[in-house]
């Protein structure tokens, strides 16, 4: 099983390399410094959302509202700064809003027993609408120059701040998943919620934290983007949830919960973003890009489906063996 997973990760690295090679051959600018920085910036956006989403998926949840939560959060942070509030305070309040939005999702799902899909699709519409109402569908300009630095600062003059944040998140969350009690509990709850509960783990507590985390990271992703753009758009990351799910599932995070790793997520992110950026570089018409991105998620889901089916078959053959 482990070998299988490892070989799958290795295969994904090959696939990413082939994607990069193909786009590079089609347009040599693909690997220019500017374009790589662009890839890193985009990857930070889907990655910051993706960390929250991947954890949620591993724990057996899903948040289709993550993108809308992020947009609304960014708008909120921008409006708060407009009142003259220092950016760290505005940011902190924004993160608290994100966590609260996640807690509300968790309440709908854990408390009222709604299906995650339905509850979060509905909430997605709510946040989307709120963001439009607050802004009248106009971008909120940000004049706080200190906050701009969050978007424009580059470590060693090369790595954008957003990317540094993503790498930091991946390191910390990787440790949480692999080394801590909470990380183990995520995988146990996602693997079998009922069994985990009967063995003393609290699935409601675990998933509530994961939803709050996802909401907060969505706001972080939206705000960092706003800092880079010098304005907050009510629709900038509206499809963020889709990208985040695609990256996670591409990287081997089980859509059914209970499996996945941070390393896998990272490769999923690289694959997703090199692919999406490549489409732009080879000047595929933008509507076709949308089609391709959806198709990529379908491919990722197919791979996940066949994995789950292999698991189910293994389950059958193992009980058949016992019959002999």
């Amino acid at each position: 099983m482990k070998r299988l997973l490892r070989s799958k990760t290795v295969m994904l690295v090959y696939v990413s390399a082939v994607v990069v090679a193909v786009f590079f051959i089609m347009n040599h600018n693909y690997l220019s410094g500017d374009n790589i920085r662009g890839i890193m910036n985009n990857m930070s956006l889907s990655g910051t959302l993706g960390v929250g989403m991947a954890f949620l998926l591993m724990g057996g949840g899903i948040d289709l509202a993550a993108g809308a939560e992020g947009c609304f959060g960014a708008v909120l942070v921008a409006l708060l700064m407009k009142t003259g509030m220092p950016w760290p305070v505005a940011m902190l309040l924004g993160l608290m809003y994100g966590a609260a939005a996640g807690a509300l999702n968790a309440f709908l799902i854990n408390g009222l027993n709604f299906m995650g899909f339905i509850a979060t699709i509905a909430m997605s519409s709510v946040y989307n609408g709120f963001a439009l109402v607050l802004t009248n569908n106009q971008n909120v300009a940000i004049s706080n120059q200190a906050f701009w630095r969050v978007g424009s600062y580059a470590l060693f003059g090369v790595f954008p701040m957003a990317f540094v944040i993503l790498i930091g998140l991946i390191a910390v969350y990787g440790f949480i998943l692999a080394k801590t009690r909470f990380g183990r509990c995520i995988l146990l709850c996602g693997g079998n919620r009922m069994a985990a509960r009967l063995a003393g783990v609290s699935p409601k507590k675990v998933t509530t934290i994961l939803y709050m985390n996802c909401g907060a990271l969505a706001t972080l992703a939206g705000s960092v983007l706003a800092a880079r753009m010098h304005n907050a758009s009510p629709t900038a990351v509206a499809t963020g949830a889709l990208d985040a799910i695609t990256a996670a599932v591409l990287g081997g995070v089980s859509f059914m919960g209970g499996g996945g790793s941070i390393g896998g997520l990272l490769i999923g992110l690289i694959l997703l973003n090199t692919f999406n950026n490549g489409l732009i570089v080879v000047q595929l018409p933008s509507y076709w890009q949308i089609v391709s991105q959806g198709a990529l998620l379908i491919i990722a889901l197919c791979v996940d489906f066949f994995n789950e089916r292999a698991k189910a078959l293994a389950l059958k053959s193992s009980s058949a063996k016992r019959a002999v």
Binding site: G191, L198, A199, V201, K311, L315, S318, R322
Partner: protein
Amino acid sequence: MERCLEFKGIEKAFPGVRALQDINFRVKGGRVLALLGENGAGKSTLLKIMSGDLRADAGTITLNGREMNFSSPNDAIRAGISVIYQERQLVPAMSVAENIFPGIPPRGALGLVAGKQLKRQAQELIDKFGLSIDPAAPVGTLSVAYQQMVEIMKAYRRDSDVIAFDEPTAPLTDAEIAILFDLIRRLKEAGKIILYVSHRLSEIFQVTDEIVVLKDGRLVAEMKTSETGEQELIRAMVGRDIGDTYAGLNRNDKIGEVLLEVSHLETDVLRDVSFTLRRGEIVGFAGLVGAGRTEVARAIFGADPVSSGEIKIEGKPVRFKTPKDAIDAGVALCPEDRKEQGLVLFRSVRDNVTMPILAKVKRGLFLDNHAEDEITIDAVKRYAIKTPTVDKIVMELSGGNQQKVILGRWTSSKMTTKILILDEPTKGIDVGTKAEVYQMVCDFAGQGIGVIFISSELTEVVNISDTIVVMHGGRVTGQMTRQEATEEKVLALAMLD
């Protein structure tokens, strides 16, 4: 021609169990045959083979002299065999008429479904059975009993030769049962072959003509209903040699003070359940499936809400809100369904063993993997769990070894289990491993743990437990010591009407 259904040499094996062995009997048209037996005796398996759900490993079923060979339930229905299960197979949103004529509604001009004609034909059938049902009413609005009637009419309309009932009276009231029996008599007069599966002895004497008793997958008795009595039937159902398995057990005879005291416990299923468990004692819970035994376990364990009553552990009243609270207080539960409720199948042996003690194997912020491995290796050694490493995915272990992983979880050195609840611990386990499990249960008691042992296998409960609590319909119907208990007594209490 007179109808006749015959079973010849039916055999069926499942992993670890021979569910049916050499079953031979026949039923003629116009007769009602009772299929009787304990839980797991093979009644349902036999029905499933007859209805095309399962395939027999050997043997044949012949209907009216023709050998039947089904590869799906649809084949069986086409051949004239209808089985009416407890779970209705109706579409609640569709009308009575549409449910009676599914798929093949009468067609009018232009090939459209002729609504009026459909309704008329359904009404004719309803009148024939002397019922008062509106053929246009959605099935979902009918009572459970009437839904069953619709199902019977559906079977009748198909012109089935054989109609089998699986525990049909379980959800019905007395008045509804009377209607059902009347219906069965009509079917009988129409010359149909009727199979009737039920635990309720009194009913068997009311409606059946012949009785076949199954026990551990074998046919142990065949008789005419008019020539037998309840006592004889009970004896036939339980009568078997009690092997040396139990005589060889190293039992615990040091039973201590009261550990758990449950009084007047009520939940949405349980009514006034009271019993006590002492240190080192094994209290067995006997009863039929659905008697409420699992619910008692779950209520004590904090898995289901308790509506009233008192639970005391070592004299202190407790009311656990979550299983975690119960575990912290020293209560452990091995659930009935290992795969669904006991294990996280795609995680390792270690992850499954250390689930409840993760808070105790931390070094600073991080989990101490070394300590986890040690605890797991200890469990693997103590229970001789057959696994190459502690990293092996639990799904890849056999049923018996999976059960041992759960036992290892609750008895590791970091746990202080005082009360161990085992819900059907020997289900799906082969005979050899069963004996091992029995000795383990006795050993737990020997360590001063109070054990609650829930089992649907009468012989097992009666021979393992120090005290046997019998349940029926959410209530305790009797309690006795091992010395007092006989399988006949327990079964009589478990089947109490």
